[in-house]
Subunit: 505 residues, 2 copies
């Protein structure tokens, strides 16, 4: 069966839409049928034992080969993704590079055995009062993993993105659920993965893709008894729905849902005064980047209500006013953004500035809002995520007042503090604030911006609920592999039956 | 406030029962009130930041001091626990030693920074196309943890047991829920922990105990917003109820429930023939140990249906017949055991032998049962756990027939294969069987027995659902600490605000 055939659904037809025009683009896709889904998961289940037992070097070669196949298809991928998502070609191109680099990072991780956490605890027959058994253990893949593509990262968090790369690295077959907004991009990427699997001589079933323009096939995937874990990046409603499904299965399974947050930024008075221009430009760039369609978008910025912050607020207002609108990822995202702005308005937030609105059905126009700190107590909804190029300035009197609001924050992916050196000494309000924020966020940032998630060994892209459904984990960086593994112990095994990393030789 | 006062409830009174006589023993205890519970969790929440920021050496000293306080109270602990659980004094004494050793193991773990998985990824301002930020990360405690005491391990899995030791080591305050079967033991142990906390100069609230003779206070504990994780060892019904509560909270939290399993043992034909005596004695000792009240009790043993296994079965039958009964942990456990035996009988299992029944209200009498492999297909209930000194022999024709039943097994804490060397070569049915079992159990054992869980760095006491609610984790061994931690990243932090393990100096 050719790779192209393997990715085709057989159910009802649907097409992608160009968000800039609202017109259909690209070829027709068909929804995966329940029979196809069952066959894909069954094949993944059958492939798992052989795939997970492969030498890590073989899996590493597979991951690198996926990267090569993606590079070979770069032109088509960038063209298709640009059309389906309205993201600029430059951004899509750099996201593709990131995707290839992520695959290479996990390949490299596999080449060192450290990730397995292999432990050998030798026995001692002469120990009293009881002999000590020989116990060895290491990580092992959980089994087939369902990965849901994200609308805002058609490559880095989609079919061959971080969840897929880390699950495949962990020894888990992957069934990717294509995001309905970018089926064409998903198909091209899936074909690249299937070609790589073929070239690496992998068992059939290590990878498959599922299409749907609704939610039925995604739900069926999470409910399928052959699926052992779920990776998801998207809305809170979507992540919570999948988590509810997963925990109500006869055999509950872990769901790693990255659901976003408001990523609060706290600007200390000294920083607001001393770095008004830099802060205004940095914050503006961060909250409007990619039409604000990032999970790490700074949605709330705490700024002093004194004159010292006037220049910062004025500059931010002017920058926002001059920001041209751009098409958002799809109609649903755009409608959600408009509803989010309406919610801010209803809650009494003052609109400081709107960007330049363009033509087109799905334009997202930048928006800057302001409230007083006290307003948050009356309406905690003000701290809800607005997915798009909007941010809410919360004007505070004294940095000490920020502690109470920080205590009440929900879990966040990131939390940021900007301060001058003297404001960041031990014992300062900023220090106290960071000590509260450390239990609220997966990543704390000082004097930088939350957007732009570095892919590396130390990154934590996670955070307490509701930023994610599992605040113990990260979906970016090498530790992401741990999500798809469990520990297994081997007691008193003959050497030749042990997995290679647990042999003494 | 004295330690004694801090452990006293203020609600309705209840008392422990001597399982041997059914008579009340020990002093009167009072159920913790909702107000007391709230105060305890609030104090734990308040204590968390300071406690988790302590140098690891201070937490290590605290854990060792708990051990010393337990040793100082050894006589009282053994006396009380023996009375409340009917476990022999020798067993209780060795369990106390294990408990002290576990605390010391986590103290030692804290003295090496490896458990933190601290990572420092230095920045590079000159990287293109974008500067690389400085990102550092490590594990951090989740916050206050609720630990539920287990009836069958009044020390090692109760108030100062493995869950408490690992949570305290991770930097998490602990609220222990005393098991209603052994309130006296729980109180003595809690007082020891409180004395140790006092001696170590810890903030108030690092440890508290909650009493209840019902389930209300345990449920209230899991629902309390200040609680960030739950450790539990007990029944499947209990573990599942707590997990349901935890996932339906406004902020869901992880539950580590160890719910037990049947721990299948597969005896290959050659081993049955060559080691009939050893196997009979080993299996008998394992399934009757502690009146069969172990999570790792071998509840199902697959034995050939050929003559080669006759001696093994005959010996096992005789050993079972000669086994004196003993009082079980409490009336509920004993009633559950009786119901389990009735279920085996109804399902058509043949009773090969019963032990010697003694006098007393809660006696557990050893019981040996037999079915044919084909019977399992008709009634999968035969593979349900019977908590007590019972085991079911499943007679099979050919080792190849075992693969299908292994494929259908639920998740298990352990799975064991006994075989002669020639039966354990690569490519044998036993090898194929182990390759199926590796995805069914947390610990695979060859030619030893599942009871007797070694406490060490490589142990995995866990397993896929329903053996536990979180098959990625272990509740025994040093890795148990990971359950109560999350990763936190620090980006672009000034050196002096970083936690010590992330500083470069």
């Amino acid at each position: 069966m050719s790779a192209a055939l393997e990715v085709a659904g057989e159910g009802r037809a649907f097409r992608a839409t160009d968000p800039r025009t609202g017109a259909f683009v690209g070829e027709e896709f068909r929804v995966t049928t329940p029979e196809q889904l069952d066959a894909a998961v069954s094949a993944a289940k059958a492939a798992f034992p052989a795939y997970t037992a492969l030498p890590p070097a073989t899996r590493a070669a597979f991951l690198r080969r996926i990267g090569q196949e993606l590079e070979a298809a770069r032109e088509k991928i960038v063209e298709t993704a640009t059309l389906e998502t309205a993201l600029p070609a430059v951004r899509v191109g750099s996201e593709l590079t990131r995707t290839v680099n992520q695959l290479a990072m996990f390949a490299e991780l596999l080449e060192s055995p450290a990730w397995l956490d292999a432990r050998v605890d030798l026995g001692d027959a002469n120990r009293t009062p009881s002999p000590k058994p020989d116990v060895r253990s290491m990580r092992r893949g959980l089994g087939p993993v369902a990965v849901f593509g994200a609308s805002n990262f058609p490559l880095a968090f989609s079919v061959a993105g971080g969840d897929t790369a880390s699950a495949l690295a962990a020894g888990c077959p992957v069934i990717a659920k294509a995001h309905p907004s970018h089926p064409g991009t998903s198909a091209v990427v899936a074909e690249a993965v299937l070609r790589a699997a073929d070239a690496a001589g992998l068992p059939e079933g290590v990878f498959a893709i599922v299409f749907d323009d609704g939610i039925e096939m995604g739900e069926a995937l999470v409910r399928h008894p052959g699926i052992k874990a779920v990776g998801f990046t998207g809305s809170r409603a979507g992540g919570e729905a999948l988590t509810r499904l997963a925990v109500s299965r006869p055999e509950p399974i872990p769901v790693y849902a990255e659901m976003g947050s408001v990523n609060p930024v706290f600007v200390m008075p000294g920083a607001a005064a001393a770095r008004a221009k830099d802060l205004a430009e940095g914050l503006h760039a961060s909250f409007t980047l990619g039409v604000g369609q990032f999970c790490t978008n700074p949605g709330v910025v705490f700024v002093p209500n004194q004159d010292t912050a006037s220049e910062l607020v004025d500059r931010l207002t002017r920058l926002t006013r001059g920001t041209p609108s751009a098409a958002m990822l799809n109609a649903k995202v755009c409608q959600g953004y408009v509803r989010g702005l309406e919610k801010l308005e209803r809650a009494g937030a003052k609109r400081l500035a709107s960007g330049v609105s363009g033509e087109g059905p799905n334009e997202g126009t930048a928006s800057l809002w302001e409230v007083a700190l006290a307003d948050l107590e009356e309406d905690p909804e003000l701290l809800g995520e607005v997915f798009g190029p909007s941010t809410l300035l919360v004007r505070y009197g004294s940095p000490e007042d920020l502690l109470a609001v920080a205590e009440r924050l929900e879990g966040q992916l990131t939390a940021t503090v900007h301060g001058e050196p003297f404001e960041l000494e031990a014992g300062t309000p900023a220090d106290a604030l960071l000590q509260v924020l450390v239990d609220k966020a997966g990543r704390l940032i000082v004097n930088q911006y939350p957007t732009g998630v570095e892919v590396g060994p130390a990154m934590v892209h996670g955070g307490p609920y509701p930023a994610t459904s599992d605040g113990r984990s990260t979906s970016v960086g090498t530790r992401a592999i741990e999500r798809f593994t469990r520990y297994v112990a081997y007691q008193n095994f003959p050497e030749h039956l042990l997995p290679a990393p647990l042999k003494r030789g």
